[in-house]
């Protein structure tokens, strides 16, 4: 690794101060499962690395008036072991479980996964399907935006260089909303996603309501398949409709062709993944 300076603030204020002081030659480090790998390959030193893994404000999972709050520094393992998440957003546990292997999940954080913002991130689709919001802390205080707006491009988020991702909030109305998640990788253990899919909806009076279909690794950022959602929204549920929505989802995605898989294959997986997550959510909805 190229030499850099390392600061380890213990308060968010100190962290923000460090970011402000060293900007733009500064990078944030939390779990390190992605960033330390990057550090080993970069040709230029980042200058200063600010380790935010000790910030108490980034920790904890709790129910608030707004909904379920998950600190950005919460690890995937902590998500998997959390009873509140198991009760209110179990699909998040399925998603967390597919992140790397135990060691990666023990170090890697939810916030880190979102901030890294690679298309194949495993946390994104479920959170999008549950209309998650994120709280960003900066020199001017906090701001809250939809997760969908947070994702800007490949490895690009709405975070300014002097800002910090504080927490993720799943709105209270979506707690317990039936949701399904599926990941397709090249092997069973430790796989990068070829396609990720998450679906969520409610059944009211026998019709689909608040349908969300989110896809990962099929576009520059994790995306919602809004046309596919529209196919179902307000309709009486049927298997044919689910299949149709899955087909429409394929038309919305823009997967790439690469050495891991062809575009055609990813399209097949989008169709299957969308359908299967819708079916999984349906099963939950039907209790």
């Amino acid at each position: 690794m190229k030499p850099f300076d390392f600061v380890q603030p213990t308060t968010t204020d100190a962290a923000l101060a460090a970011l402000a002081e060293h900007s733009p030659n500064v990078r944030i480090l939390c779990g390190g499962t992605d960033y330390v790998v990057e550090l080993k390959h970069v040709a230029q030193s980042p200058g200063v690395v600010v380790d935010v893994s000790r910030l108490e404000d980034l920790k904890g999972i709790e129910l608030t008036d707004a909904g379920l709050r998950i600190g950005a520094g919460v690890t995937h393992s902590q998500i998997m072991a959390d009873k509140m998440i198991a009760e209110h957003a179990p699909a998040m546990i399925d998603a967390a479980h597919t992140v790397g292997a135990v060691q990666t999940r023990n170090l890697g954080t939810l916030g880190g996964n979102l901030v890294t913002c690679v298309p194949s991130m495993d946390s994104g689709p479920t959170l999008l399907a549950l209309d998650a919001q994120v709280t960003i802390l900066g020199p001017k205080g906090t701001r809250q935006i939809d997760l969908a707006e947070f994702f800007v491009g490949v490895r690009k988020t709405a975070l300014e260089p002097d800002e910090l991702l504080l927490e993720v909030i799943i709105p209270s109305e979506n707690l317990g909303k039936p949701a399904g998640f599926i990941k397709f990788g090249l092997r069973k253990g430790q796989a990068l996603a070829l396609v990720n899919a998450a679906s969520a909806f409610r059944i009211e009076d026998g019709t689909f309501k608040d349908v969300r279909i989110a896809l990962g690794a099929v576009a520059p950022v994790v995306m919602r398949a809004v046309k596919a959602e529209a196919v179902l929204e307000g309709q009486a549920f049927s298997q044919e409709l689910i299949s149709e929505a899955a087909t429409v989802a394929v038309s919305e995605a823009k997967p790439i062709d690469d050495f891991r898989a062809s575009k055609e294959y990813r399209n097949s997986l989008i169709e299957v993944g969308t359908r299967r997550t819708l079916e999984a959510a349906l099963q939950l909805a039907n209790g």
């Binding site: 690794m1 030499p3 850099f4 300076d5 060293h22 733009p24 030659n25 200063v48």
Partner: protein, 464 residues
Amino acid sequence: MADDVKVKEKEVTLESLRKADDDLRLPAVPERTLFPKEIGVAAAREQTPAVGQRATRPDGRLHGLGQTKYIDDMFFPGMLHAKIKRAGISHARIKSIDVSEAEKMPGVMATVIGKEIPVNSFGPSYQDQPLLADDIVRHAGDGVAAVAAVTEQQALDALEKIKVEYEELTPVYDPLEAMKDDAVKIHNNESNVYSSKTIKKGDVEKGFEDSDHIFEATFTTQMVEHVPMEPHASIAEWDANGRVTIHTSLGRITLGRADISRTLELPINRIRIIATVVGGNFGGKNEITTEPILALLSKKTGRPVKSVYTREDEFISSTTRHPFVMEYKTGMSKEGKIMARKVRLVCDGGAYCSWSETTLGKACILSAGPYNIDNLHVDAYAVYTNKTMTGAMRGFGAPQVCFAYESHMDDMAKALGIEPVELRLRNTFHEGSASPTGQVLEAVVVRDSLEMATERFGWQEWQK
């Protein structure tokens, strides 16, 4: 502007950091590992007769305690770290290599390029592989220069300063293309086909005539890596008597020593190789890699020099398994007896021969499968391409041909309406069968293995 100043200051700090890193950091007191001084021995180790016992491994105990010293776990006083610069271009003529800037980098103690190696070639069959490419680069993972520095990072930083000028040459990657007469020649040979083997037994054309059915199929396989968990690693130390001691992860030390002797023009009795424990081989550690380079770096610096491959080095510059193109034609009687078989094997031999000769030979012999075939004709070719060299790997060509002949067998079984295991049983070798090379086989238990594996599987009663 203010930012610029800050960055400048930063660089000074970083530079001083690096300087501090120049001092060799070696642990003063070895850490201790605790374990009971009297661990019992498993009964199987104490019993006679010894053969047939499920005896535990004394080395296994040390592995579990974390006490096994692999090469990378050895630190000698004053030891330097070496790194190799890879060409990153698959076919080119080297016009010049300039290491002068690299040599000025902090911590750098020595460099070596191919021209400094007394005999810059090695290989188990043909000595067609340079330790560091000095004239022609033949695959992207070819090394072109080596650096020894106080720390690994310093060596890596210095690699960036080595300037190599290349004249690009046309590459060829596909073995079938490379076989053609007009293909660019990767070595200074008439053809890229550097080895061919033939087996002829009986009269294959007559056999086809006597067959009720003829089946044809083509199979291909991919290039794979051994992926030993321990990457290649060596430490060389040149001593005052002109002897070099090399700790290395090499699976065949006697022949490796001969290779090192040849490349360094050093009498064999001045070379000592200690392989201690190798962290996985699978055929991938059967050739020397950096040993002579490290020896030279040690000679130049008077210090022990260590090199440990990164995982990337392991992939791009160590040997791999040969991709094969396999054409099969088999004549069958309607009762399911193999009457004749013709096989053509083309093996992608990569940039250097390595163990391809042997691999080709074994694949050729084994390609008929464990079956009695009176009329057989196999032709096999190994071809140079501008890819990572292919060499010895668990099975030497056998996994490739087995995939082909057994897939082919099942397809024929289906076409003939004969149960796949039954079709095999009708053709397998038995005691005294003649192999494709006419060798009378003894201790043949292929039928037993078929019966045993299928019985354990529950083949007969198995249902979808």
